[in-house]
C-alpha cells in the first residue's frame, strides 16, 4: 500500500494575512478545523517580520487546487471564499524566501523535512523562554 500523501508543504503566512490564510487552509485542507491552521506567529525572517508557519504532508491535488478558482468544500460550506481568494492571490510556491507581501510555500517530496523547508524560507523560530 502506498500513501497518497506524496508531498510535504511548508507554508509561511505573514502575521497580517493569518485570517485570510486560514480560510484558504480551510479550502485546501480536509477538515472543518483547518481554519485554525495558522495560529501564533512564532517564526521570523532576517528583518524581524513575523510569520505563522504550518507544515504538513499533502496529496498532489493540493498544488492543483491552489491554482484554481475556489469553491467551498463539503466540510466547510459556509467558509469565507473572498478571504480565501485574497490569500490564494498571495501564494508563492517554491519561489524563494518568505516576505511580508506573499504567502510563501515550499512544496517538495514527502520525505523532505519541515526544517529544511523553513531554512529555504529564510525563517528561524522565535526563541521561547525555558519553562
Amino acid at each position: 500500500m502506498t500513501t497518497q500523501y506524496q508531498q510535504r508543504a511548508t507554508i509561511a503566512t505573514p502575521l497580517a494575512h493569518i485570517p485570510d490564510a486560514n480560510q484558504l487552509a480551510l479550502r485546501l485542507g480536509e477538515s472543518a478545523a483547518d481554519d485554525q491552521t495558522f495560529t501564533a506567529a512564532s517564526y521570523q525572517d532576517a528583518s524581524g517580520n513575523l510569520y505563522a508557519v504550518a507544515s504538513t504532508v499533502t496529496k498532489p491535488i493540493f498544488a492543483e487546487m491552489a491554482g484554481q478558482p475556489l469553491q467551498a468544500p463539503d466540510h466547510a460550506p459556509d467558509m469565507d471564499l473572498a478571504a480565501a481568494t485574497r490569500a490564494q492571490a498571495l501564494l508563492q510556491i517554491n519561489g524563494g524566501i518568505a516576505s511580508p507581501d506573499v504567502i510563501a510555500v515550499i512544496l517538495g517530496d514527502r520525505l523532505e523535512s519541515a526544517q529544511d523547508h523553513i531554512a529555504a524560507l529564510g525563517l528561524t523560530p522565535i526563541p521561547q523562554d525555558t519553562p
Binding site: T2, Q4, Q6, T10, T37, A54, T56, A114, T130, P131
Partner: protein, 260 residues
C-alpha cells in the same frame, strides 16, 4: 487428535498482558501504540473522526485509539497538525515535525501523587536551549510532562516544580523514559535505569494547554514542539510496582527497537 496444536498453545500476548496488568483494576489513564492495527483492530486513522484508516507509511495520523479500557483516544482535527505514521526498519511510529504536529486527548483528573507517564521516543532536535516536549498530562500546577533540552537533559514537571536529570540522552537515539510520581515523590527512569535528578525552578503553567493532554508538544501555541518519533506512550494514575515499571520498559523497548 482434533485441535492438536491449538489447545493450550496459544501464544501469550505481551501487550494484552501489560494492559491487563496496568489497567485491570479500573485504573485511570491511557495507552497509545501508533500502529495501524493493534490486536486485530484498526487503531490509527487519518482523520480525527476515525473514518479513514491509516494503511500506509506516510499517511497522516488524525486519531489514535487508546488501548486501555478507558477509551481516552488521542486525535488532531487540524490537518496540518497531524503527525505522520511511519514504518521504518520494522518499527512503527508517529513522526512529529516540530512545527505544528501534536496529538491531543482529554485531561483526566486523578491522584497527582501517584502517577506515571512513560514514552518511547526518539528526540531529534532541541535548538538553542529551547526544550522540546514529549508530552503533557495535566493542568495548572497539577501538571506532569516530559521534555528535553539540547544538552540531552530530561526534565519532568510535577505539581509546581521542575526536576531534571544530568545530560543523559543523545539526540537522534531512542529511549524509554518514564516520569514517575509515587506518594508524591518524583523520579525519572531512562531505559530501565532510575536516574539521579535535581529540583529546578518554580515555573508558571499559564501558557500550557489547559484541560488537555498532548503528545508531541507542551505549549498551546508556541514553539517547543517535538521533532522526532513517538513509538509508544502511556499515562496512568495509581501506585505502580517495580515489576510493572520493568514490564513497561520491556514492552516499550520492544516496539521502539531499544536494547535495555
Amino acid at each position: 487428535m482434533l485441535n492438536f496444536g491449538l489447545i493450550g498453545r496459544r501464544r501469550s500476548d505481551p501487550l494484552a498482558a501489560l494492559i491487563a496488568q496496568l489497567f485491570g483494576n479500573a485504573e485511570q489513564g491511557a495507552f497509545y501504540i501508533p500502529r495501524p492495527i493493534v490486536n486485530g483492530v484498526q487503531s490509527l486513522f487519518q482523520d480525527s473522526a476515525g473514518t479513514v484508516p491509516v494503511t500506509a507509511d506516510g499517511d497522516p495520523g488524525g486519531k489514535m485509539l487508546d488501548q486501555s479500557p478507558n477509551s481516552i483516544n488521542a486525535s488532531q482535527s487540524v490537518s496540518a497538525e497531524r503527525p505522520v505514521y511511519t514504518l521504518a526498519n520494522g518499527l512503527d511510529f508517529l513522526l512529529f515535525d516540530e512545527v505544528d504536529d501534536r496529538m491531543l486527548f482529554p485531561f483526566i483528573a486523578g491522584d497527582a501523587d501517584n502517577f506515571v507517564f512513560s514514552i518511547a521516543v526518539t528526540p531529534e532536535v532541541a535548538i538553542d536551549s529551547n526544550p522540546r516536549y514529549f508530552g503533557l498530562v495535566g493542568t495548572g500546577i497539577n501538571l506532569q510532562c516530559g521534555y528535553i533540552n539540547d544538552s540531552g537533559i530530561i526534565f519532568t514537571r510535577v505539581a509546581n516544580t521542575t526536576y531534571n536529570t544530568g545530560s543523559e540522552v543523545v539526540l537522534g537515539n531512542t529511549y524509554v523514559i518514564s516520569h514517575i510520581v509515587q506518594n508524591g515523590i518524583p523520579s525519572i527512569r531512562i531505559n530501565a535505569v532510575n536516574k539521579n535528578f535535581s529540583a529546578g525552578g518554580d515555573p508558571t503553567a499559564n501558557s500550557f494547554f489547559s484541560n488537555t493532554g498532548v503528545l508531541g508538544a507542551g505549549y498551546e501555541s508556541t514553539s517547543n514542539k517535538l521533532q522526532g518519533k513517538i513509538h509508544a506512550a502511556l499515562f496512568r494514575y495509581g501506585s505502580i510496582t517495580e515489576s510493572q515499571l520493568s514490564d513497561i520498559d520491556t514492552y516499550f523497548a520492544s516496539v521502539a527497537g531499544v536494547t535495555l
